[in-house]
């Protein structure tokens, strides 16, 4: 029995007939409606849940029903294909759902304090009974801390990745790669503790007459520790994707290696590198623990990242969410919305910049 025969056995299609019956759209929809109806009947009949369970069960019943009905009409192979396709679409929807839900929650709850006062005042002299107060100091803190961390981590990370891809051979490079991998999994609190014990307690007293001090810069260092491995790994992957013949093409023109890397390899990999950097920035902007440990947080505005405690948005959210004041939760929601908005704007800006630098088709 040939392969074709085996596949065709029990199926409408025969080797002589290249046409096959298709499942009508109406039937497809009917199965979906029936699936949902059965799910609703079960869920509400037994009183065991709400619309979420109806949707989940409905999809499952729909898949089973589709498999049976399509199997009858179209044959098992096509029905299987249909089922997988539906499953993949369902998984895709499921992945988008939490994101949409987060955005909706943030916007609907954050809009209450989305006013000028929130963006122009700090929490200085704001008591538990005051409805005002804002996150101006926290926005400044986040921008400064993440900005400094990015300024340190991007050059170091990109240069490290260039070393690993273009120069690193043998044992040392492998060791570096291994430790970068290990660092990727480092919990943020550990990075904070490291900077606390190293920078705040040992180094910072040298600059402050022997007294250790918190600073936004210490938070930047902790965030750098967290950003570095992400940037190194993503940049490394992107540089590896640049085809070898491109490098050889530049060498063949008598271009030195460092210039080839700078002018040919990096620009080619730039969009991917930017994506990696933005992932790292987003992660750093959302970190609470290291800032709490080494910058301490603050209620008032502090523009100087090198001196005294500084607030950050993530830390502000944490503190306001746990605050007893009835006005605090609204501030926390708006601060969270602001944080997401800042990361989103930065990401879009970075992508636009990267696209402008490379030619569009």
């Amino acid at each position: 029995m040939s392969l074709l025969d085996r596949e065709a056995s029990g199926v409408v299609m025969t080797p002589d007939n290249i046409r096959t019956k298709r499942l009508p759209v109406a039937v497809n929809l009917g199965v979906a409606v029936a699936g949902l109806a059965i799910a609703a009947a079960i869920v509400y009949g037994f009183g065991i849940g709400n619309y979420v369970l109806v949707a989940v069960l409905g999809v499952i019943f729909y898949l089973i029903g589709l498999q049976i009905v399509a199997g009858r009409i179209e044959g098992p192979r096509t029905a299987l294909d249909r089922m997988w396709k539906t499953l993949i679409y369902a998984a895709c929807l499921l992945a988008i759902l939490p994101l949409a839900s987060v955005v909706w929650t943030l916007v609907s709850k954050g809009v209450e304090r989305l006013d000028g006062n929130f963006f122009s005042t700090s929490m200085n002299n704001i008591g538990a009974r005051d409805p005002e107060g804002g996150a101006y100091h926290a926005i400044i803190g986040t921008l400064e801390q993440v900005g400094i961390a990015t300024l340190i981590a991007v050059p170091l990370g990109v240069l490290g990745a260039i070393y690993l891809v273009e120069y690193g051979r043998g044992r040392f490079a492998n060791t570096v790669r291994f430790f970068v991998d290990v660092m990727t999994g480092i919990p943020s609190i550990v990075a904070g503790l490291f900077i606390l014990s190293f920078w705040v307690l040992i180094v910072s007293p040298w600059f402050n007459n022997g007294t250790p001090r918190f600073s936004g810069f210490a938070a930047s260092l902790a965030l750098t520790v967290l950003m570095l491995p992400t940037i190194v790994r993503s940049t490394e992957e992107m540089l590896r994707l640049v085809p070898g013949p491109l490098r050889e093409g530049a060498y063949a023109l008598g271009v030195p290696k460092w210039k080839t890397i700078l002018q040919v390899v990096l620009p080619t990999a730039l969009p991917g590198i930017v994506t990696g950097v933005m992932l790292a920035v987003a992660r750093a902007a959302g970190e609470t623990a290291p800032v709490l440990l080494v910058a301490g947080g603050a209620a008032s505005i502090n523009f100087n990242p090198f001196e005294g405690g500084q607030q950050s948005l993530a830390l502000f959210v944490y503190q306001q969410a746990g605050d007893a004041s009835r006005y605090a939760p609204a501030r926390a929601w708006t601060a969270a919305l602001t944080l997401v908005a800042i990361v989103l704007i930065l990401t879009i800006a970075a992508k636009l910049l990267a696209r402008r630098n490379s030619l569009s088709k």
Binding site: R169, P243, P245, L246, R247, E248, G249, A250, Y251, A252, L253, G254, V255, P256, K259, T260, Q263, V264, P267, T268, L270, N357, S358, L359, S360, K361
Partner: protein, 258 residues
């Protein structure tokens, strides 16, 4: 301008694997030399040894001497980038820089080597594109990406890029193997034109092409897989294709190889 290349007892290695075994040949200035032979026989390796591109791969090294007008390019005090500026190379697959426009691609070699003057660059771009028979097709869209051209145009763009830095020797590693017959013809025409100014060595699998374009032909072969490739015969193209000295050459050319 064009220079004489003399290889004597060149052996190339990839790590411990010997890819070619003591190849000696002399290439006269302003000629086209074709290297033919079965896959894996070391033609490309030899070609890449001529502009020190071989050593880009980790563990690759070479023995013997390769001189260009009596300067050994493998002397320890030789600057690799200077050698490669003198000996340009066109690759099997067109490899225009994807982030650069057509114009930027052509002047990339000059620009990355420090030429900044706009008039010089403009001039070089126009001259090189004209020499590469591409000017008329792209003159109105020099700012479009080089990767948007057709395969044949891309390859001519790469040739323009190579000759823009005014090398003395141009190496071509199967430059037409990814191209259709019309683009191939365009590039062969181009080689005839470039012969007045450059020494050209071309690796090709297309024997008609070797017979059509080259003055001299070298036939490489291996005894069996794992053995190093050898230069079996090197002579005038006319002689190789009409009356080769070696039996192996004759077998290969008439298609009775192996």
């Amino acid at each position: 301008m064009a220079k004489r290349i003399e290889a004597s007892n060149v052996s190339s290695y990839y790590g411990s694997f010997k890819a070619i075994d003591s190849v000696s040949m002399t290439v006269e200035p302003k000629t086209i030399t074709a290297l033919i032979g079965p896959s894996g026989c070391g033609k490309s390796t030899f070609l890449r040894s001529v502009n020190r591109m071989h050593e880009v791969l980790p563990g690759a090294r070479i023995e013997g001497s390769l001189t260009i007008d009596d300067q050994n390019i493998y002397d320890p005090d030789v600057d690799v980038t200077a050698v490669r500026r003198m000996i340009g190379m066109v690759f099997q697959r067109p490899n225009p820089f994807p982030t650069m426009s057509i114009y930027e691609n052509v002047v990339a070699g000059l620009k990355l080597n420090g030429v900044k003057k706009k008039s010089v660059l403009d001039d070089a771009a126009e001259q090189s594109l004209k020499s590469a028979n591409l000017w008329n097709e792209v003159k109105d869209r020099l700012n479009r990406p080089g990767a948007g051209l057709s395969g044949g145009q891309q390859q001519r763009l790469c040739i323009a890029r190579t000759i823009a830095v005014e090398p003395q020797v141009v190496l071509m590693d199967e430059p037409c193997s990814a191209l259709d017959p019309i683009s191939t013809l365009a590039i062969e025409d181009l080689m005839f034109k470039l012969k007045d100014r450059f020494t050209i060595i071309i690796v090709t699998h297309n024997m008609q092409q070797a017979a059509r374009v080259s003055d001299k032909t070298g036939f490489f072969s291996i005894d069996k897989t794992g053995d190093p490739g050898r230069l079996i015969e090197y002579d005038d193209t006319q002689k190789i294709f009409s009356n080769p000295t070696e039996k192996k050459t004759e077998d290969y050319i008439t298609g009775r190889f192996g």
